[in-house]
Symmetry: C2
Subunit: 196 residues, 2 copies
DNA sequence: ACCTGAACACCGTTCAAGT
DNA sequence: ACCTGAACACCGTTCAAGT
């Protein structure tokens, strides 16, 4: 998945290596337009509308983002990066269990920013963007540390967690009080993971 | 949701009341065709193909099943009924915790029979068919008994359960070893619900 | 009351022509 | 190398005409 593309961090922006200047400019405009369109109309918004908002031809959009998931992964990139970073910062001086809880709540909340993004979290998370990689790395790190500390059962995998977080995010998309429901469901999951 | 339609149980078959004989015949053929098509091609199969297999006009399909979810609820009806019935039978002489575990595993497995049915479990379950009602009733009964016995936390709702079961079913749809994974994830959920 | 399928609308995806 | 948008394919949904 996107194995051939490489990424460069330039300050806040994510830039794909080796693109001609005009192509990179178009790419950024597509990302901005997609973010807007996803927020207003959900992850199912017609890609034609994204192209129209970005003022590029539909072919250009397909050239950069061959699938809807690739586009979703790209627009989620910054959000995912910040979730991972906040988690790393928190974990330095806090309780591992609290760090895990907060990480999962953040992930679930950030997976329900667009209507119907949650259903494809499992696919999106494997897209190899820096944000996706950061989430995976941080999640696995927290999981391993918690397991070593005996706080989490040994038979729980990161995959299991992603699956249940998807379920939580799906439920929350249709919910009126997202935040408290997320907290409740994450609590359920955490208790489930804890060794008896 | 289908509030105006009434249902009659006639042996194994579910028959909608007040339909002309030819209409009821068509309805049954749509159900058979839909079941086949969903199994072979997933819950996303074009409705035109279902109509073609049933040898009815597409308009007839829309007349009986105004939405895809209504059709999914109808084809899932027998499966859901049998899940609820098996659960009731089991519960009579067994351990309440085991009854709950088996019920959740059955529900998750039967929610992943068609590719991409799981994503709409939350919507489908509210469709008022006998099967959906039976699942809801049985689930709530098991939950209440388990809570009264102090086996399950008091702050868990049936909604919470449906949500996590959806997540499990979604994960399992894409999985190669469904049965064992379902068991593992249900175990996680159950431990989560248990009072500490 | 019910059935049919043509007609319309909408969206995804490709690709020939152009810079 | 990159962009464009017409063209094609496909699917959902409605509705006038028919039994």
């Amino acid at each position: 998945m996107e194995a051939s593309s490489t990424w460069q961090d330039e300050g806040e922006e994510l830039v794909e290596a080796g693109l001609r200047a005009d192509a990179e400019r178009n790419r950024q405009r597509i990302l901005v337009a997609a973010e807007e369109a996803f927020l207003e109309r959900g992850a199912d918004v017609p890609l034609e509308e994204v192209a129209k908002r970005a003022k590029v031809g539909i072919g250009t959009l397909y050239r950069r983002f061959p699938t809807r998931e690739a586009l979703l992964a790209a627009t989620s990139n910054e959000r995912f990066l910040s979730v991972a970073e906040m988690s790393r910062a928190r974990d330095a001086d806090g309780d591992p269990a609290d760090a895990m809880r907060q990480f999962l709540e953040d992930l679930a909340m950030n997976t329900s920013v667009y209507q119907s993004l949650a259903a494809s979290l499992g696919t999106v998370i494997q897209h190899g963007t820096p944000g996706c990689n950061a989430i995976t790395a941080e999640g696995q790190r927290l999981l391993q540390r918690a397991q070593e500390a005996g706080i989490v059962r040994g038979d729980v995998s990161f995959d299991d967690i992603i699956c249940v977080v998807s379920g939580i995010a799906i439920a929350v998309e249709k919910d009126s009080a997202p935040a408290s429901r997320v907290a409740h469901l994450v609590d359920l999951l955490l208790t489930g993971m804890r060794v008896r």
